[in-house]
């Protein structure tokens, strides 16, 4: 049980004296503080000679009360006197919470800021893309300037390391499409069209799209976090001082790796998705595995493969671009790295899906439906 600080009130010759008892410490002051806040009578003197230990919180509470009642503090020993003086000098009325404007002003302000930011962001990203293109052209003119080691390292990280997870994901997606498709087509007695559905959908859309989402999550985020951290530790600045272009050394290898690996990964994903569909068809629809694959060859036109292969490098470019752009925008603190990484992934996936819709319309119009 704690010994709480308390007080007694003594009256003498019409002068009220508040006698504080018990230690005036942060651990014992809780009750006394609230009692004194509620205290509603004139006090002329505060006697703290009987309270033993004092710390700054105790001194503060006594001092505040004395100020409020315009009372005099007596009986302070040397230590209490020092503390009273210290807290008196440290008195302030400043706010603890940051200043905030009203909600009805804050919401439009935030929206306006977002819109302006979006405008600037789009312009800067376009500039960034231009910078990469110029650097890429310069590298074409002087191929020796290409960081070959770095490119291969990134190809390994973006492509080879992702094989297992992308393969597994596509296989499972293939199973789901075939199984769900069959359930619907069965109603017309058209289960055999499950093969058309799985084959064409995998080649045109799902293989590339799911791969793009996975690569954005795996590599787009790591580009942003890596470059962001390098910005924070001033590595990027150090590079510039030595005369190495960060775009050439850091960004270009990542962009090349993503552009090169996306078609390969997308095609690989489509293949495994078809294998997944064939497996579930063999198990539940009694379509033999070999028949499924042979039939796929007949019903999927070659241009479906081209549709997937044309989209893939564009998606790779988008992912690398937003990852690197957001990474290079980091400044200030580590919180920014996390924020920019999130933005890189969200932006990449969003742009990929928007572009995919445009591609769908475009290929339809050119007759590759």
């Amino acid at each position: 049980m704690r010994e709480w600080a308390a007080y007694t009130l003594e009256e003498e010759d019409g002068r009220a004296t508040l006698v504080v008892t018990g230690p005036l410490l942060i651990s014992t002051i809780g009750a006394l503080d609230r009692e004194l806040r509620a205290f509603d009578a004139p006090v002329d003197t505060i006697d703290i000679s009987q309270c033993g230990a004092v710390d700054t919180v105790g001194a503060w509470v006594v001092l505040r009360f004395a100020r409020e009642k315009k009372a005099e503090i007596v009986g302070a020993d040397g230590q209490a006197e020092r503390l009273l003086k210290a807290v008196e000098q440290a008195h302030s009325n400043a706010a603890i919470e940051p200043p905030r404007s009203r909600l009805r002003l804050r919401v439009p302000e935030a929206v306006g800021k977002q819109v302006v930011q979006f405008g600037y962001g789009s312009r800067e990203m376009l500039g960034f893309a231009g910078h990469i293109i110029v650097t890429a052209l310069a590298t074409l003119a002087h191929p020796s300037r290409l960081r070959v080691t770095s490119v291969f390292r990134q190809i390994e990280l973006v492509g080879i390391s992702a094989l297992f997870i992308i393969g597994l994901m596509s296989f499972l997606v293939g199973i789901v499409i075939a199984q769900q498709g069959a359930a619907q087509l069965e109603q017309f007695g058209a289960e055999i069209y499950t093969i058309n559905l799985t084959g064409r959908l995998s080649m045109r859309e799902l293989g590339v799209l799911m791969t793009a989402i996975m690569v954005a999550g795996r590599s787009g985020s790591s580009f942003a976090a890596q470059l962001g951290t390098m910005k924070l530790t001033e590595e990027v600045d150090a590079m510039r001082t030595i005369g190495v272009s960060p775009i050439e050394a850091l960004v270009l290898p990542r962009v090349i790796a993503a552009v090169v690996m996306m078609p390969l990964l997308g095609f690989y994903a489509a293949m495994l998705s078809i294998v997944g569909g064939a497996s579930i068809a063999a198990l539940t629809l009694h379509i033999p595995f070999g028949t499924f694959l042979a039939r796929t060859q007949q019903v999927v036109p070659l241009y479906d493969v081209w549709v997937g292969l044309i989209k893939a490098p564009v998606f790779g470019l988008i992912i690398a671009l937003s990852g690197c752009y957001q990474g290079m925008q980091v400044k200030g603190n580590s919180e920014e790295v996390g924020m920019r990484t999130t933005m890189a992934v969200v932006q990449a996936i969003f742009l990929v899906i928007v572009l995919d819709a445009f591609f769908a319309v475009f290929f339809d119009k050119v007759g590759w439906a």
């Binding site: 809780g30 509620a38 400043a94 940051p98």
Partner: protein
Amino acid sequence: MSDDAIEAQVAAEAIPEVAEHFDGEYPILIKGLKNSFGDQVVHEGLDLEVRRGEVLGVVGGSGTGKSVLMRSIIGLQVPDEGSIEVFGHEIVGANPEDGLGLRSRWGVLFQGGALFSTLTVGENVEVPLKQFYPELDAELMHEIARYKVVLSGLPADTASKYPSELSGGMRKRAGLARALALDPELLFLDEPTAGLDPIGAARFDELTRDLADTLGLTVFLITHDLDTLYAICDRVAVLADGKVIAIGTIPELLKSDHPWIQEYFNGPRGRAARSGAGLGKTVDSHGQTGD
């Protein structure tokens, strides 16, 4: 509400366990401490006594385990062997939950300030208050936060600013304000003046000494800064070879013949700091002899 009712309510809101005031002579008592990371032994057979009310400077070359020693004392690093008593309570092997009350009796200033970046400086100071003394009135917590900010040498309006808006020196002061939030008896400072300009560092030294004297603190101060040692430390402990090889006032240490101590205090920087502190020939007296 009557005073009795207030008292009952406050007692109900308070957490049951609170550390008692410490009256012993040695707030920190370390015996036979051993710390290692894999094959690398940092401390072996380290003994250290910190006296109540003193400012103890801890020095040593890079990698001699000054920070590891501090982390062991405050329970962030579990040592391999040895015993560490803080306020008479054994830290090594104790259940971390039991040490909760003890934690309210010490304050720690980490190297970078380690402020919570999503809270303002004032809210940072209130975090330990809310953790240990939930019974305090919200208004009292605000008042405490305000005067601790000013007490730590910051302008009053810093209380509502976020750590990212502060300079390195101000962040350290804000960290100090949080370390002092609970009126601790023991204060740990990890390189408080590192990265500060000489004027800022000297002010911080002054502030530390002032607070130690006013609040009656025991200070465990890790530093590389020779000026800090001369300006504010009562005693200095030298860490080398995994042990405390010497401890005492600076004049006592100067008599030691350990090569590291000799090099440290008698190197060009050591001599400059000594003359600055007036223990050797001062620049002024030098000028007078020239007359």
